[in-house]
């Protein structure tokens, strides 16, 4: 038997931890690996469990009462995502299995409208999930892939934008926020340049969404991709938002049930977006959980949370910098950054560091963070990353600094 509580309301940021079952059950844990996966909020877990135990059915074609309830829940989940993204149309929300699937959908579906020699612009700061799909498109269709470098400070180098934009630029696909350095991409000049060139802009929002709602129309972009598990929602679900006019002229990517209009043995015709892009049974319960997570997030006091995250980031950077041999990778200032801080420790391998920190209940991540080109640009093979979310506090940051000082003594 499963008893599910009412969703917990977070009246102030200090309540946040109680709204996360895993953290509530493990009060000693300093979870600072949020860029890899954030914890699941009770609102999302409750919604998922309630869905599976009271209205589980397949969607779209059923007319019995469970199917109607599942349909309504799935529709409402789409509406919740649309609200979170600044009030776009629910028909512009495509559910996928995650940010990686969203970006692959884009590379295949929009990619099918590109010709040999058309250009796509990415950056050195991308996660592999926003690089490899474009590598593959280059193989498949002979597009030209251009790459913006990063500055010494680890930010995407917008000064190089003019040279990086070729005459056949069709798409700029960039991370909204680096999963390694926390740098938030300066969008205004990019969007202006793209508009002037008649190119589309796609953002990989995987790292941005856990730090508050995003108004995609205000950003002026055309596509936005993210994963549920990085914004307090369930695993196994993600989103691709796209402007309706653009989605409408994209062919489908995956084939199967639900995305077709007509199927004869000679071929098939396609349903309208978003269903055109949702072949097969979608991750219904996960979408419902994600909708609940985003609705929960939308109600939070983001100005206060962001100020707090910034304060903690400052405290973290100030704690790291004096440690011997520790070098922060990427921006050290407070401007336009998410609470993600990666660092290199001379003579100490990140995996050793992570393990020793773990022995002190501090969870961080070491490795290349699926961003090898950025690692190479920053001059490291791997690094250690601490990433904060709304449930982290001073104690988490201080525990990390203290454990790190201990680790440095132990490991060097």
């Amino acid at each position: 038997m499963i008893i599910v509580s009412d969703p917990i309301v977070v009246a102030s940021p200090s309540d946040a931890r109680a709204a996360f079952p895993l953290l509530a059950h493990d009060p000693g844990l300093h979870y600072l690996d949020n860029a890899a996966t954030s914890q699941l909020c009770a609102a999302a877990l409750d919604a998922l469990v309630r869905h599976e135990t009271t209205c589980r059915a397949n969607v779209l074609r059923g007319t019995h009462r469970l199917a109607e309830a599942a349909d309504a829940a799935y529709r409402e989940a789409r509406a919740a995502v649309a609200r979170f993204l600044g009030g776009v149309s629910a028909d512009e929300i495509v559910f996928t299995s995650g940010a990686t699937a969203s970006l692959n959908l884009l590379a295949h579906s929009l990619g099918a409208t590109l010709a040999e020699g058309d250009e796509v612009l990415v950056s050195v700061a991308e996660h592999h999930s926003n690089l490899v799909p474009w590598f593959m498109l280059r193989e498949r269709r002979g597009i030209v892939l251009r790459v913006l470098p990063v500055t010494a400070g680890g930010r995407i180098d917008l000064a190089r934008l003019p040279q990086a934009m070729g005459p056949r630029l069709r798409l700029i696909a960039l991370t909204h926020c680096s999963n390694v350095t926390g740098a938030v991409t300066a969008l205004a000049p990019l969007v202006a340049a793209a508009k002037a060139a008649g190119a589309l802009v796609a953002l990989d929002g995987a790292q941005a969404v856990q730090h508050g709602p995003v108004d995609v129309r205000a950003l002026g972009v055309d596509f936005y991709a993210f994963s549920g598990h990085k914004c307090f929602g369930p695993n196994g679900v993600g989103v691709l938002w796209g402007r309706r006019e653009v989605l409408e002229r994209m062919p489908p990517f995956l084939g199967g049930g639900g995305m077709v209009d007509r199927v004869e043995l000679t071929g098939a015709s396609w349903a309208a977006p978003p269903r055109r892009f949702e072949a097969g049974t979608p991750p219904i319960a996960q979408a419902v959980g994600l909708g609940a997570a985003l609705d929960w997030m939308t109600e939070l006091p983001w100005a206060a949370i962001r100020a707090r995250e910034a304060r903690l980031t400052r405290r973290l950077i100030d704690g790291l910098e004096p440690l011997p041999g520790v070098r922060i990778l990427g921006p050290r200032d407070d401007a336009a950054r998410a609470p993600i801080v990666s660092f290199d420790v001379e003579g100490v391998h990140p995996h050793d560091l992570v393990q020793v920190l773990d022995e002190r209940d501090v969870a961080v991540r070491g490795g290349h963070h699926c961003a090898r080109p950025l690692m190479a640009a920053l001059g490291v093979e791997a690094c250690t990353r601490a990433s904060l979310a709304l449930y982290n506090d001073e104690a988490d940051v201080d525990a990390l600094i203290e454990a790190l000082a201990h680790a440095l003594r132990l490991l060097r």
């Binding site: 074609r61 007319t63 199917a67 109607e68 349909d71 349903a271």
Partner: protein, 143 residues
């Protein structure tokens, strides 16, 4: 069974099948499909002096769809384009709210319980959507 959507009124309407068949000398015609369930409706109409002089429909679909088409076949002849559009809008509001709005064709009130079943709204609306499409084709002279 009191809030069954299969009220006697709907059944009677579907069986009466007002307007079922084809029309000679139609001035507008439209065929619409609901790919979700395979329902298919063809509506033909003839406009004379700014009014719908005659309307016929062929429906391959469910009882709700047939009943809606019959209401159309009963009431559309003699109406103006505006009146038909108003009737379609009133039907849409009925489905959305479950409350019969002012100006709803009397026969359509029987569809109120369908409000609770969003998956079936398209079945009821399909003949009206097709009729409005046929109207606009007639206006464009491309019927």
């Amino acid at each position: 069974m009191s809030d069954s959507i299969y009220q006697e009124a709907i059944k009677t309407l579907a069986q009466a099948a007002h307007g079922a068949g084809t029309l000679e000398a139609a001035t507008g015609e439209a065929r619409l499909d609901n790919p979700l369930c395979g329902d298919r409706v063809r509506v033909q109409l003839r406009i004379e002096g700014g009014r719908i002089a005659a309307l016929a429909h062929e429906v391959r679909g469910c009882l709700l769809c047939r009943a809606a088409a019959a209401a159309l076949g009963l009431r559309a002849p003699g109406s103006s384009a505006e009146e038909l559009e108003a009737a379609a809008a009133a039907l849409a509001r009925l489905l959305e709210t479950g409350e019969p709005p002012a100006g709803l064709w009397r026969e359509l009130a029987a569809f109120a319980p369908v409000h609770a079943h969003p998956g079936r709204h398209a079945c009821v609306r399909l003949p009206f959507d097709a009729a409005i499409e046929a109207l606009s084709r007639a206006a464009a002279g491309s019927g």
